[in-house]
């Protein structure tokens, strides 16, 4: 016969149990934030984005010169075949009009982030709205929205953007932003609609319906939050494409008519291409900047997705 468990040991067991199970529940957002901070990928991505944001916001303080001013010491050496390189006071040399290239790069961060972020956001919002409606309502609404996106996706995105800009009465920075945003709408709409459909058939949505939850709450609480991760990732990728699309429009002369405006896409697509044989740096630097920013957004976006996925919680 075994002896009964002593009270001391029994208490020890309770202690041990209490100790192992006090991990505690924390809110999804706080937990996601905590894991984000611990993830080196996220740190690198965030660091890149913050760096460029600081440059963009404090451009007047960071830039050595006015980005639109033409400098005599640069213009006097300017010919069709030579563009002055780095020299005292102008670390990156001149652009094809004798303006300080370094300052234009720095001011360019402003323009480029503005166009890219805004075009992505507008496209994202409109796409999510359309996709959510299509996926939630289904039936003929779904059919109409999806045929519309089919038509839009059938056209090459740049061709579609060109058409949209051409339709606008006068071109400005905003026509470019809106055109690029519209091109991205069907991608977001289709993506979200797909995962909404999968959610609609899921057991937990059926369970919610069995509890009499209202249709709009089923969409907003049960279907949408479970469908958004794919869209978040897509948004980070879209950002890079949006910058390049905007650049392409500028290159084709459909962008902002203001020739003084400094924007990486414009600098790469117009000056960079035209003077590539004379001074390839005019293309290299804007291209490098675009790649870096896009990389930053992609890294951060991917880590956000990972952090938000409750299945990765420990």
């Amino acid at each position: 016969m075994t002896r009964a468990l002593s009270d001391v040991k029994r208490r020890r067991i309770d202690e041990l149990i209490a100790h192992t199970s006090d991990a505690g529940g924390v809110s999804l957002l706080r937990d996601a934030g905590r894991r984000l901070v611990r993830n080196p990928t996220a740190i690198v991505g965030a660091a890149i984005i913050v760096l460029f944001l600081i440059i963009a916001i404090f451009a007047p303080l960071v830039a050595p010169h006015d980005p639109v001013q033409r400098f005599p010491e640069l213009t006097q050496n300017l010919t069709v075949d030579t563009i002055p390189g780095a020299q005292a006071g102008h670390p990156l040399g001149s652009d094809p009009l004798g303006r300080d290239f370094a300052s234009r790069m720095i001011y360019g961060a402003r323009q480029t982030l503005f166009v890219g972020v805004l075009a992505t956001l507008i496209g994202l919002l409109a796409g999510v709205l359309l996709g959510a409606v299509a996926g939630a309502v289904g039936g003929w609404v779904d059919a109409v929205v999806m045929r519309l996106t089919d038509v839009m996706l059938a056209l090459p995105s740049l061709l579609l953007a060109i058409t949209l800009v051409a339709l606008a009465r006068e071109s400005s920075q905003w026509t470019v932003i809106v055109a690029v945003a519209i091109v991205n709408v069907p991608i977001f709409a289709r993506l979200l609609r797909g995962s909404m459909l999968a959610q609609r058939e899921s057991d937990h949505v059926l369970a919610a319906r069995a509890l009499g939850v209202k249709q709009r709450h089923i969409v907003s609480r049960h279907m949408l939050p479970n469908s958004l991760t794919a869209v978040i990732v897509q948004a980070t990728l879209t950002f890079a494409v949006a910058i390049l699309d905007a650049a392409a429009l500028s290159f084709l002369g459909l962008g902002d008519p203001d020739i003084n405006r400094a924007e990486w896409g414009l600098m790469l697509g117009v000056d960079g291409v035209r003077y590539f044989e004379v001074r390839p740096e005019l293309a290299y630097y804007p291209a490098l900047a675009i790649i870096l920013v896009a990389l930053g957004f992609t890294l951060l976006g991917e880590s956000i997705r990972e952090a938000l996925d409750p299945k990765n919680r420990r």
Partner: protein
């Protein structure tokens, strides 16, 4: 007066260009208040479709539901979808098979329990969460305060099913439909969940419709058992009656197929020949005839009617297993 009176319920799956499929074919049964009724049958016999039809949860397109589902004198099939929504969760609760996928993965458990209270009892978020804590406690989830903030994947399978039971019973419904609530759980947890269900149902006076293929569950829980085959009720009896003297060869076969401890080791387990897809239309005779050991000429020809036996029981068979004559 029965709480739930299902009369001649039929569900036909109809897709363009395909042959219509009769998943449920004129099923009738009643549930008295506080009673536990079992729906038993093998996969594909129409158990789950019956429960979804009662709840009005079948997709509207491609399905035709006919018959009557009288709940407390109201025909649920005639209600508008938005009105039926008020009944679901408040008067009729439902528990599903897979507890993990039935919970929303991105919402903390507490909010999922609170949602149904906010919806049907007009509670504020705060009051609902407080009540959710007590509900989780009542279904035996340890440390409910902490669990409120946790997500479904952080819980064990048994705890998830307990949580689902808490959600289903939150508004004290008069009827609970449990669609194979223990299938996804391991055996030790199955017993706990069944005990819990029985306690809660007995305490609150909730009627329970238990859908299962597991005769062990039926044996422990149900007052009356309906055996379904190919969309029709083939036998209905009180639990003890059914286990002691199954009359329909299908019921008999099912009971024979259960492994028993008191049978010699070397003996082969009994099986029912063929599968549920080997059947003939009910209009041509008995659907079970191709698999039946007791098939006779009378089984083929016309629909076999469901004849009442005694004490509310019923049987659909031309050549039933003979009753043992008391010695």
């Amino acid at each position: 007066m029965p709480l739930l009176d299902v009369r001649d319920l039929s569900v036909v799956f109809q897709r363009k260009g395909t042959r219509p499929v009769r998943a449920v074919d004129g099923v009738s049964f009643t549930v008295e208040p506080g009673q536990t009724v079992g729906l038993v049958g093998e996969s594909g016999c129409g158990k789950s479709v019956t429960s979804l039809a009662i709840m009005g949860l079948l997709p509207r397109r491609g399905n035709k539901v006919t018959g009557e589902v009288r709940f407390d004198e109201t025909d649920l099939l005639k209600l508008r979808p938005q009105d039926l929504r008020d009944w679901r969760g408040r008067d009729i609760g439902m528990i599903f098979q897979d507890p993990l996928s039935s919970l929303n993965p991105v919402i903390p458990l507490g909010l999922q329990v609170a949602e149904v209270l906010e919806r049907h009892q007009g509670r504020t978020r705060k009051a609902a969460l407080k009540q959710a804590r007590d509900l989780l406690d009542a279904v035996g989830i340890p440390d409910p305060d902490r669990r409120l903030d946790e997500f479904p994947h952080q819980l064990s399978g048994g705890m998830r099913q307990r949580a689902l039971i808490a959600i289903a019973l939150a508004c004290k419904p008069r009827l609970l439909i449990a669609d194979e609530p223990t299938t996804a759980l391991d055996v030790t947890i199955q017993a706990q969940i069944l005990t819990l269900l029985k306690e809660l149902v007995d305490d609150s006076g909730t009627a329970l419709v238990m859908i299962t293929h597991d005769l062990g569950v039926v044996a422990g829980l149900c007052d009356t058992v309906n055996v379904l085959y190919a969309g029709k009720v083939v036998e209905r009896a009180y639990r003890h009656q059914l286990f002691a003297e199954p009359r329909h060869p299908y019921t008999h076969g099912l009971l024979q197929s259960v492994p028993r401890l008191d049978v010699d080791r070397g003996e082969r387990l009994h099986q029912i020949r063929g599968s549920v897809s080997d059947n003939i239309p009910w209009s041509e005779g008995c659907a079970f005839a191709p698999r039946c050991d007791r098939v006779i000429d009378d089984c083929i020809g016309e629909t076999v009617p469901l004849e009442p036996t005694f004490r509310g029981g019923a049987l659909r068979c031309t050549n039933p297993v003979p009753q043992e004559v008391p010695a």
